[in-house]
Amino acid sequence: MQAIIDQVHAAIAAQTPLQIRAGGSKDWYGNAPTGQLLDLSAHSGIVEYEPVELVLTAKAGTPLAEIEAVLAANGQMLSFEPPHYGAHATLGGTLACGFAGPRRAFAGSARDALLGVQLLDGRGDVLNFGGKVIKNVAGYDVSRLMAGAMGTLGVILQASFKVLPRPAQEVTLQFELDQDNAILRMNQLAGLPLPISAAAWVGGVMMLRLEGSGPGIHAAQVKLGGEVNPHGAAFWLAAREQTAALFGGDMPLWRLSVPATTPPIDLPGKQAVTWGGAQRWLKSDVPAGHIRSAAAEAGGHATLFRAADKSAGVFQPLPKAMLALHQRLKQQFDPHGILNRGRLYAEF
């Protein structure tokens, strides 16, 4: 860890920008990384885990796969079901990107699970925020501010987060439905007391994942009907890791985060619906401006998730007052502007 701190001090002295990286599985995400490499991959390992506390603490470079294996051995899991996007995905990178998987709409995101972080800020100081307990309101919630900040406010050195018991069983049901009706149905069902843990639509089929105790799942199956998909687990994995057919090809991949009840987005291109309607994937070469205004009109925003050409900017531009506030926060945590400069927004 000292080497990481030393490198940040050296970078401050030389005014050299740094790109924070661990596994490198998300190099393609966000605006292009620039600057000298600050490698966190060796800063790895689970620091503290007592299953009965439902809390795990690990260093940022710990592979997600290692964390998930240890949790699974204890009948537990990460609530937010993060995508890995590669074999070397780490905890730090996942939190910095704020990624969450199919369970997002039903069990919260990375920031919901996050309880505390150890942070190396742009002054080279090591700071501790939050804690290893489930409830903590002492001081501002700086920990959650780091989720999705793309490493622009500090280097996450270590994080503590809440974990959940793994449900005893899961079943995936499928229903033939058009996109309109699937979105309506997903929202209606989410308002009923059913053990649904994921809902998606792709290619004329709505998929529902049920999780819980055997009798609970069975009763829900009786109520819902539909057809059991024998490859349910593989479907959710492919959707999460974007290895499904829809995600292939050279066309830009857009992620639209919108209110769950938003009708199908009227734009050309292949679409898939996840998070019970709240996340729309769009493979399309329609100009960025069109896509961004469609998302904004629906009450959401659009991210250029994967593309060769990111000159349109990856993230939805911020209103003026919000941008200014972001810049002031950046200035406070990273006064020299050396950490992941421009990775989130070109302005900082």
Partner: protein
């Protein structure tokens, strides 16, 4: 200390009835739920539109006058404690539900809407708002966001921060911010999370969109009795280790049981050293399954007795004892002081033992109410404010309890906030570097420090002063030093 000219300016922005400045009018606002701290506000304003809020903030910003937001005033850490030189901005008139969308399961409300009113309005659609502080009949959603309030169902359903989708807020210079949205995330930094637990120091909340959940088909509560606190603590761990995520998992010790039983006749066993309330919810089948598993675990965990509520009325009665624990304890003693530390669950027996020793040392009784599932302790210290010196003794005792929590890897506040009450213990939990970072966050929103000044984050100077003297029982040897 508020100038007559500022009051005149406020009167041009608001109807006469919405600007209170004479002593009898402002007196009801002198404290929040922590009545040990009192101060007459310089002036109280009660706007009912966002435009008025913006105008008030701009006026105060230009005049360099501090502003303190107040919701329902149920806070337990003095977060809404007024100052003579500040404007107290009451948001009680913002009490309208603006939009309920049953299909999207969201509700857009004004900040003064009461927590319980949200669930009541959602109920006809089979929906509810999950965080349920015991003060839910009175506390406001704006206050809930500002304190990141919890309740008895946090372990499974999360705190306020996990159940709010959007906040609209006005900064001290009158700028309106939209944080979060009706989508599940928003671009840029997670300022929505940052607003939670910020104790009215970053911006004034003028609208909140909450997430609603489907009411579980069935909820069932099991009441278990133990002859030792340690055994009850171990049973809590056994339930979690058994893979059950209870909707509620609460513990009460003997004094709390006795007080609650005398007050609401909940049917609690009076000979027990501790009781647990274990609630499971979900579909009918899931609940049946979970109740059996809870029974199996309790049977081998040394419970002297356990019973499942036989009907909804009995379930509510079991909960009534817990939810009324504070007023129940209030009947035992002229005053009580509610603490709010959180610890890792495994430290429970040690910390409770430590509290018992401190109780003997200070000669003050304690009743313990505990969100056991979350590791959140609420020791209620019984005292009499009319006995000279007893409040000071109580505060010193409380400070020791919080330090005990920090020493065991916990925190000084799980859900009630720091306010003025725990500001000194912030120096115990955080180093100057982190406190500086908190001041930096504040400065990004409010560079002049006009919103709720002196709360939640101590100055480094204050901590340094304390550091040299803290050894002396957590009591300030120089009460004449400015408290903030």
């Amino acid at each position: 200390m508020i100038s007559a000219s500022l009051i005149r300016d406020l009167q041009t922005l608001l109807p006469a009835s919405a600007v209170l400045s004479v002593r009898e009018d402002v007196a009801p606002y002198a404290s929040d739920g922590l009545s040990a701290f009192q101060c007459q506000p310089g002036v109280v304003v009660l706007p009912d539109t966002e435009t008025q809020v913006i105008a008030i903030l701009r006026l105060c910003h230009a005049a360099g006058v501090p502003v303190i937001a107040r919701g329902a005033g149920t806070g337990l850490s003095g977060g809404a404690l007024p100052r003579e030189d500040a404007v107290l901005l009451g948001l009680a008139k913002f009490n309208k539900i603006l939009h309920l969308d049953p299909l999207a399961r969201t509700m857009r409300v004004q900040p003064g809407v009461r927590n319980l009113a949200i669930s009541e309005a959602a109920a006809p659609h089979g929906l509810y708002y999950a965080p349920d502080p015991s003060s839910q009949i009175a506390c406001s959603i704006g206050g809930n966001v500002a304190e990141n309030s919890g309740g008895v169902h946090c372990l499974k359903y999360g705190l306020t921060v996990n159940n709010v989708m959007r906040v609209r807020a006005v900064t001290i210079d009158g700028e309106v911010l939209e944080l979060g949205g009706e989508a599940l995330d928003s671009p840029g930094y997670d300022l929505l999370a940052l607003m939670h637990g910020s104790e009215g120091m970053l911006a004034v909340i003028t609208e909140v969109t909450v997430k609603l959940l489907a009411k579980p088909e069935r909820a069932q509560v099991v009441l278990a009795a133990f002859d030792r606190i340690e055994t009850a603590g171990a049973a809590v761990s056994a339930i979690i280790a058994g893979g059950i995520l209870p909707a509620g998992l609460e513990m009460m010790d003997k004094p709390a049981i006795e007080a609650a039983e005398a007050f609401v006749h909940a049917g609690y066993p009076l000979d027990a050293a501790a009781i647990l309330l274990v609630e499971v919810d979900g579909t009918n089948e899931e609940v049946s399954d979970d109740v059996l598993r809870v029974h199996d675990i309790l049977a081998v965990s040394g419970a002297t007795e356990f019973r499942t509520a036989s009907n909804e009325a009995e379930r509510l009665k079991f909960w009534a004892g817990r939810k009324n624990a504070f007023p129940a304890v209030g009947r035992l003693s002229p005053d009580y002081y509610c603490m709010d530390g959180t610890i890792p669950r495994r430290a429970l027996p040690t910390v409770l033992h430590g509290i018992a020793l401190l109780s003997a040392q200070y000669g003050l009784r304690v009743a313990n109410v505990f969100h056991a599932g979350d590791g959140n302790l609420h020791p209620l210290i019984l005292y009499d404010a009319n006995t000279p010196g007893e409040l000071e003794k109580t505060e010193a005792f409380g400070a020791k309890i919080l330090e005990l929590c920090v020493a065991h890897g916990g925190t000084i506040t799980g859900e009630h906030g720091v306010g003025v009450e725990k500001i000194d213990q912030m120096c115990v939990q955080f180093r100057p570097l982190e406190l500086q970072a908190f001041h930096a966050v504040k400065a990004a929103f409010d560079p002049q420090g006009l919103l709720n000044p002196g709360k939640a984050v101590p100055t480094l100077h204050r901590c340094a002063e304390l550091g040299a003297m803290h050894v002396h029982g957590g009591q300030l040897p120089h009460p004449e030093l400015p408290r903030f």
